[in-house]
Structures are given as C-alpha cells and as structure tokens.
Assembly symmetry: C2
Homo-oligomer: 378 residues x 2
Amino acid sequence: MSTTTHAPRGLEGVVATTSKICYIDGERGVLAYRGIDIHELADNSTFEETCYLLWFGRLPSRAELRNLHERLAEERKLDGSIYHRLQLVPKHALPMDVLRTMVSTLSFFDPEEKSNDREANLHKSIRLTSQIAMIVAAYDRIRKGLEVVEPDRSLSHAANFLLMLTGKHPSQTAERALDIALILHADHELNASTFAARVTAATLSDMHSAITSAIGALKGPLHGGANEAVFHILEAIDASGADPVDYVKGMLAQKKKIPGFGHRVYHTEDPRATHLRVMSRDLGNSSGQAKWFEYSRRIEEFVKNDKKLNANVDFYSASTYHTLGIDVDLFTPIFAVSRISGWTAHVMEQLEDNRLIRPRADYIGPEYPNHYVPMDQR
Amino acid sequence: MSTTTHAPRGLEGVVATTSKICYIDGERGVLAYRGIDIHELADNSTFEETCYLLWFGRLPSRAELRNLHERLAEERKLDGSIYHRLQLVPKHALPMDVLRTMVSTLSFFDPEEKSNDREANLHKSIRLTSQIAMIVAAYDRIRKGLEVVEPDRSLSHAANFLLMLTGKHPSQTAERALDIALILHADHELNASTFAARVTAATLSDMHSAITSAIGALKGPLHGGANEAVFHILEAIDASGADPVDYVKGMLAQKKKIPGFGHRVYHTEDPRATHLRVMSRDLGNSSGQAKWFEYSRRIEEFVKNDKKLNANVDFYSASTYHTLGIDVDLFTPIFAVSRISGWTAHVMEQLEDNRLIRPRADYIGPEYPNHYVPMDQR
C-alpha cells in the first residue's frame, strides 16, 4: 500500500522541496538570497549582480560581473517577427497575456530550443531576462502608437528598460529606484509563480514552458496582480477626494479585502515593504507627487492598527511605480521583469536533482462504482 | 509560530486538495470519472458526453448532450489572425510549443477574456476544447504546405479532428478508436499538468493562463511526452531490424529508462492500457500494420516479467496513434486535445473554493547571514 498524508489547504506550511536559493524567516521578517540579507543587497547591489548571485550561488568577481553585463546587453535583441506579432495584438489585450504569449513564442527562435542542460538553460536565463524587459517596454510603445525605442547596450538593465519604455534617459534617482525594486522582487522562494515554474520544469519540459507557466500564475490578483489592485484604490481615493481611511473603512464594511496587506509567509513586516516605503516617499517628494505616498501611509497606519495586518511588497510598489511614470497595467509585467531572475534560478535548481511533482487528491465525489446509465434510462 | 511539515520528494503521496472529479485506486487499478469506471465509459460513452460528465458532475440528458454537441460545433472557429500566426511559425518549431503559444494567444480574442466566473469559464472550456483540436490539425496541415481543412460541424469531435488533420472523412473504426482514446486520456486527477493548471488558477489568474501552464507541463518527457518516446523506440526497432526484446535489453544495459512503463499512482495495470492494448491490436490487424502492436506486445511481456513494471497509458497509445496515421510529434498534442476537458474541469473546481497554492522550501544554502562583500574585497 502506498501511504498518503493530508496537507493543509493550499499546501500551507508544506515543505515541498529543499532549496539553496532563498531564505525566509517569516517570524523575524528576514528575506535573503543565497544567505545575503535583502537589506544589504538593496543598499549595495545591482539587479545584474543579484542575477549572478541567484544563478551561480555566490557574488561575482569584477570580471564575472562585467561579463554578465555584456551578455545581458548582447541579448537586448528580439527576432523581427516578435515586433510584428506585437503589432498584431488587439489593443484591448492585457499586458500580462501579451507577455505570456510572447515568452512562449520566443521558444521558436531560441538557438538552444531543444536543449535542456544547465549550460543551455543559463543562456536562456540571460536571454529571457533581457527579452522580457524589452517586450514589456516595446509593447507599451506599440499600443500607444509610439515608435519602439532601440536598446542602449551601454546602460544598466534598469536604465535601459526605462529608456525603452519612456524614450528618455532616466535620472539617476529613477534608475536606482527601479534597480532596487528589481532587486527586491527578484526571488521569494516557492511563491505561486515559482512553484508553477518548478511543477512544469519537473516533467523535464523546457525553460520557456516553465517561464510561461510562471507568468500565467503571476498574473493573478492573489499574486503579482495585487500591486495593480492597490493602485486602483489610490486612484479611486484621488478621483473621489475621499479620505483614505474612510475609503478603506467602506471597503471593509463591504467585506472587501484590502490588497497589499498580509502575507502567507510573513507574520511581521515584509522586509521588502521597508525599502519600498522609503522609496515611495523619496520619489514622491522629489517629483512633487507626494500625495500617493500620503494616501498609502494613512491606509497602512489604519490597517495595521485596526486589522493587525502588515503592508506587503505590493503595497508601496504601487505608488513607487506610478511616481516613476509607469502605467498601472504594467506593474505586474514589471514584477516579471525582475522575477525572471528567480524563476530561472529555480528551474535550474529543480533540474539539478529532479523529481516529477505529482501530488494526490482526496476524492469526495459520487461514490465508486457510480454506474454508467444508458441514455434512454436517464 | 507557523508549523511546517516535510513532504516526500515530488509531493509523492501528499494529498494537496479534495476533488470530486477523478477517483483512482492505484492498488486495484481503478480509474473513474465522477465515480463512473473508465471501462464503462470507454465501452459506452463518447468524448463529448465525457466532457459533460467532467464539467457538470453527472451524465447529461439527451437534450443536454445535444446542446453540448451544438456548442462544441459552433466553437469550431478560429480568429483569422490565428491562421496568420500559424503561418508565421518557423518550420522547425515543436508542435507543443506552437500549441502552448496559440492557446495563450487565444486569450486576446476570447469574448469573456476579463471574466473568471463559472459561466465564463464553462464557455471558455467549450471554446478551448474545440479550438485546441483545430489548432493541432491546422498547424500540421500548414507545416506540410497543405490547405487547412474547414471544420464539419455535423461531425463528432473525434471525426472532425481526423477530417481536419487528414483531409478525409475517417472510417467508423478510426473515429471510434480516437473517440475512445480521447475518453481514456480526458482526466487523471492531480497529474503534473493538471496540478500546474490548478497552481496557476489558484492565484485567481484566468483560464487561458491555467491551460497554457498545463500544456507547458504536459510537454515534458516525464509526462505527456512519454508516448512520443515510446514510438521512437518502436521506429528504431523497425529501422534496425533488431529483436524488440534485445533492443530493450540493450537500453537497460545502458541504464536507460524504458518509456511507457511504471506509474507513480498505479501499482498494478493502468486500466487505460487495458483498452489501448486491444485498440492497438485491432487497428493494427485491420490496417495491415500489425508489426507495431507485435513489437509493443513483446516489449511489454519482457519488461513486465523482468522489471515487474506495467505498461502505462503512454505505451499502447504510441502504436495506436501511429496506426491511425498520426505523426509522432503530434502524439503529445493529441493528449492535450483530450486532457483539455479534465484541465478545465479542475480549474473550475479550484475556483469553487479557492486557496492560493503556496508551499515552502527547506533552505539548505549558504548560512544566514552570509554578508555582502564589497567588490574590491572579493
């Protein structure tokens, strides 16, 4: 007889695998990549260096980091037919649907499409990191009827993305703000999209399949989609002139959940929120758009006192991204621009010591045998 | 403190959810949809009726079944730009990559793209069931430089698929064989692709995201890809003139796994193999291609005696599909043509009582805190 164990709903608290990538202590509010605290990385690292750390398990030497910069910059290119396909997308399409579709399409053009070894997957990780940023920026230009901006291979990943998105070289403040946001969102252990990527990869399917799964999962409002939901609330408050606390009280009275609060893993402050709060405030002050931070701050104070819920990574990323001039429906795609680094690291780790991920269900349907009844006897 | 429990590798034997859809008894070799044994369904039902059973939880009345036939037939249509996009696919692309990409693309054109309620998802289930069959058939025609065949709305799902694939109306034997194969592959509880679909759906993402994830997972050789691997062995035996048993012994001597044998859940005969074995034999005899069944039978006998492993669903589907005139790289896409019925049923069930699926990992990487070292001190 095979034995089965009943897991809590949503696999809450179930350790599904070992991993060397991401350390989380939900009680103390600790997040670390390869053991290095997220606060130290946010203060000192860059997104490119964080990619190296996630993919190789340690910080790079100067030469290794330079090489990765060069490789990422070289891969700032898309097959011409990708632009054509972006032109074909109906204007009402959701950016996450577009990103999911284009990443799936990229498999056709990947020079190592049929290889699934570590070397090929490392190349795919680099390619997809550059390509996802380009697709998000290019699609936003195309849907607005603007010219696609050519990548600048001398720029950092964050600066090149902002250039391709806005058509202008970003300020140092904006570049660094996005760079830190990309570091903070890069990985988070077995979050739902990373888990979807690992479930897909564990059938020995390929990197593009795994990342396509991850993007589909990230889209959901219980995951990456939450940052967009947060901004819709800030917008509604701004448009109606309502007091932010009154507005949120109204939502609670209607039994609505307040997006951007609470986290399955953290039972104290989400360490990413600590940084994003400061960033939201500083960007708001320096750009003369302090109101978004102010609305957010008041909501956070109320929800924390009244509901004992902490702000999570999504809450202050909303006002941060808006102040950087990014459209609300790109907030989740930008999450993907960062998280591709962690997704790919997890896919490579899964394949190092793979086992098919295939749980069981507890059958509670019509009792077996529930016989087939011929049509004329129904 | 939150509690964690350590699960076996690959979540083997872990009950991740309750489900009313599929009953499996791995010890007795029982598979049942909504409590009805797969043998009774294979002997009496049709793919369309099985779809109804999976989606609604019971067998349909005559009027309900007629209505579903009509709805499936009406949805035999693809946006013109889908054909254009299929033309754009490079000829070397893998059919599963094409199918994954096109299903993702279909979200742009779905009239209920932004709705995720039961009614909309039922409509999407019907649409995707018709569309996936059309895409697989149309892509095969396009890559061969043949005209796409118009759907015939008077035909069954199986017959229309074979018509669109081959350009000829199928024999009754071929239609019924494919129909039974579609019934047998329609659902299998929390197999990896269905689990990927549920993980994605549980973020409250959408049906197209969930099904795109499932297709990506099905592609892997540890899952749907296994039936293609089986046929490559039969082909190699045929081309080399080797004795089938000697060939398999040679593989085992090289420590290779024999695809199509063993199953995580069944510890006795996979009940689907029972039907596919008969189908493979009968189709082989009636088409004068008995050799594929004979190779298979000899391999099965040897592996069962020598390795104590049973043939699974993939083993005889290989010779069955080949005898039906289907190209080997379409075997896994045809698995999707059937499994879409189960995937969609599981997505709808997941959403009835949803909870984010988010397990934990056991961190075994560099010890925390592993401090950030400035570049010039590395």
